[in-house]
């Protein structure tokens, strides 16, 4: 759904900007119209779903069943950041347009707060990290979505901090899960003593997420507070309050993560089947990836010059007027630093008093869940699709053909009647021979339509084809004639092969005969008129006039038809032979599947292949 909205939005946007290059759209944004606003709303919808923003956040924790490396990859680095990236690119140009800024900031803040709140009460460590990711994505959405020059670098720093920290934390949980066979923090006790290296690594990483200590996350958070204090857009102060509240929650759940994973708990706090001291130690190689990222987290924090260049460059790429500068770990004693201390204090208090908060969490769970309404929507969508398919795909072949022919009559037919005129310099025939062949073709066509037997109809149809091949010969087009002749032969053979399975003669239809005759006649008249008009309607010189020279000069061939097929227009041919191949495979799979003993798998395969063949 999000992808579809995104596609629609981008198409609308590209239309109004009359270019599909993102850089050009951003450098010269189209004027604010209703279409542009609608396009931006669709783009935002796509970004929100991709990056798991409220109310589309539920899929991310639900995707937790994947193995740990997959989760780490999915949740920390690439996929969920796609929406953030999208917003980051668009925000500088469009933040001030229409509802963009209020919408992005509201959704981002709501996501940050909701994700962090839920993480504070999650019992599954992986679930906790997933909800934390949701929260951090909300934070990033706020930082980038504001489109404020002061916030671009803070966003980049937080992006880096989150990518490094969260990937490693997922690996830490993976190690715990593998060694202890549980991720439920109520059942874990004493792991910190058993695996001290892992515990220290996790502590560093969790602090980076929480934005405390000599780690890269701290740099990001300080920058974010500073940037928000200096930003000028309306509501910046309210956003700052929201971000501080979210940071308090973030600090609290980070502490809870560490406590839950590694602390030695009193028996009253852990479940009856607590595991801990007996857990086998992890091999060094198993823990190494997390340690590497943990060290990186500290290194980037202690020596920010390592990433200054990258961060400045990224910020300027996102926003040419971004405020960038040298990064420093030592905070200047200002409002931002006071806010950081406030976050740590309030977060610690919240962590210690989390028991008292639990009734509030239960209350929050009574609210209608977003996932529930999502399921309702999907079910309704399926019902509508079923109904529509029932009406459109009724399975009557004659009716399908009627609809197709009727469309052909209605659309080009109306244009033909209203806009064009027949050419005047028509000749009945160029030679007596041509006229004779024409009569034969017409006779064969009539025979096809009037025949009561299938085989006779097919043979008569073949005769019209051979007649037309003779016409090509008379016109001096041997290539076309050869092809027409051979195609006609093969078509007749294939027809006969298929018709063997059907009764010999047609069953005369009881009713609707007149309608069919009428439609067939109209299509015939229409087609004739169409051919006459289109041959007379050429206004531009034909593109083929240069092909005769090109064929000899560039391709070195004297048979123009063949050179066009395999050289000048070889791409077309490549596509056509591929279609031919798929059609042949469709025959194979349909026939083979139909002859196999009826089983679900065979039917499914036949259906799939039938869908693919043209």
């Amino acid at each position: 759904m999000g992808g579809l909205a995104l596609l629609g939005g981008l198409v609308l946007l590209a239309q109004s900007a009359s270019t599909t290059r993102l850089s050009e759209i951003l450098a010269d944004p189209p004027p604010t119209t209703g279409v542009v606003i609608a396009a931006l709303l669709l783009v935002l919808l796509g970004a929100f779903t991709k990056s798991a923003q409220v109310p589309f956040h539920f899929w991310l924790p639900a995707a937790m069943v994947a193995p740990t490396p997959v989760s780490g990859y999915l949740h920390s680095a690439t996929m969920v950041k796609a929406g953030v990236y999208l917003v980051a690119r668009f925000a500088p140009a469009f933040a001030a347009v229409g509802p963009w800024r209020p919408l992005v900031l509201t959704v981002g803040l709501a996501t940050m707060l909701l994700g962090a709140w839920r993480a504070l009460f999650a019992d599954d460590l992986k679930q906790l990290l997933a909800l934390s990711t949701v929260s951090q994505l909300g934070f990033l959405m706020v930082l980038f979505g504001a489109g404020s020059p002061e916030l671009a670098e803070a966003g980049c720093l937080m992006l880096l901090a989150h990518a490094v920290g969260k990937a490693a934390l997922f690996m830490v949980v993976g190690v715990i899960d593998h060694q202890a066979h549980t991720r439920d923090l109520r059942n874990l006790s004493g792991l910190g003593r058993r695996m001290p290296v892992l515990a220290v690594t996790a502590t560093v990483l969790a602090f980076s997420v929480a934005g405390v200590g000599p780690v890269v996350g701290f740099l990001g958070k300080e920058h974010a507070f500073d940037g928000l204090l200096e930003s000028h857009f309306a509501g910046a102060t309210a956003v700052l309050v929201g971000v501080v509240a979210g940071s308090v929650l973030t600090f609290a759940y980070s502490m809870r993560f560490l406590w839950g994973a590694f602390a030695t708990k009193r028996s009253s706090e852990s479940g009856h089947d607590a595991v801990g001291p007996a857990v086998p130690r992890a091999t060094p190689l198993f823990v190494a990836p997390a340690i590497v990222l943990g060290v990186a987290s500290v290194a980037f924090g202690v020596a920010p010059s390592l990433v200054t260049g990258l961060m400045n460059e990224a910020s300027l790429a996102i926003q040419p007027d971004a405020v960038v500068g040298a990064l420093s770990l030592i905070p200047h004693l200002g409002t931002a630093f006071v806010l950081s201390i406030l976050v740590i204090t309030a977060g610690s208090l919240l962590f210690l008093s989390r028991r008292a908060m639990e009734p509030w969490d239960r209350l929050a769970h009574r609210l209608p869940a977003a996932s529930h309404s999502y399921e309702l929507t999907i079910r309704a969508l399926n019902r509508v699709a079923d109904t529509v398919t029932g009406i459109v795909q009724h399975g009557s072949l004659p009716l399908y053909v009627t609809v197709v022919l009727f469309t052909f009559l209605a659309l080009p037919g109306v244009v033909l009647l209203s806009e064009t005129s027949l050419p005047t310099d028509l000749q009945l025939a160029d030679s007596p021979m041509q006229a004779a062949v024409g009569v034969i073709v017409i006779g064969a066509a009539l025979a096809t339509a009037l025949s009561r037997r299938r085989f006779a109809a097919v043979l008569a149809l073949g005769a019209t084809g051979y007649g037309i091949a003779v016409l090509w010969v008379l016109q001096g087009a041997p290539d076309l004639a050869i092809t027409q002749l051979l195609v006609e032969t093969v078509t007749v053979v294939v027809f006969v092969l298929v018709l063997r399975q059907l009764p010999d003669s047609f069953r005369a239809p009881r009713r609707g005969q007149l309608t069919r005759v009428l439609i067939a006649g109209l299509v015939g008249v229409m087609m004739t008129a169409f051919v006459l008009v289109t041959t007379g309607a050429r206004v531009a010189p034909p593109v083929s006039s240069s092909y005769a020279e090109l064929a000899v000069e560039e391709a070195g061939g004297k048979n123009v038809v063949n050179v066009i097929l395999v050289d000048l227009r070889a791409f077309d041919t490549l596509g056509e032979i591929t279609v031919l191949l798929v059609a042949a495979l469709g025959i194979t799979s349909l026939v083979v599947a139909a002859r196999l003993p009826r089983s679900g798998a065979a039917n499914a395969e036949a259906g799939r292949n039938a869908g693919e063949s043209p």
């Binding site: 063997r500 048979n559 063949n562 050289d567 191949l581 495979l585 194979t588 083979v592």
Partner: protein, 146 residues
Amino acid sequence: MIPLRSRILDVGVRALFHTLLLVSLFFLFRGHNQPGGGFAGGLVAGAAFVLLWMARRRDAVVTLRATPETFLGLGLLAAVTTALVPVIGSGRMLESASVTWSAPLGDVTVYSVLAFDIAVYLIVLGFVAVALRRLGNDGPDDVARS
């Protein structure tokens, strides 16, 4: 419904089958400069297969110990290879080239598009063969053989 095997057709096909295949190759190779080409060649070869099938209820592919789908696969492989080889040599997709070889009886020029023509030939022939094998057989024993 299918007429019984006819002796005349049988003998006729024996004479015609290989001739037709040769004609199809003739079409294939002369296509660059004269009427013919991979499409027409493939259709002629397909017609030969059809004749054999009509005379003996047997498709020629069986003697080759291949499935008709093999032709399709080889054809597409040839087509895509022809399309991509110029890219490796820093050309554009499907760009053509030619090599002239001075043979004792006169110069022979081979064009790279011939490979593409062969691909078309194989796929057209494969299509006919598939139609014969899959639509022409009736019993389940035919499926077992495929």
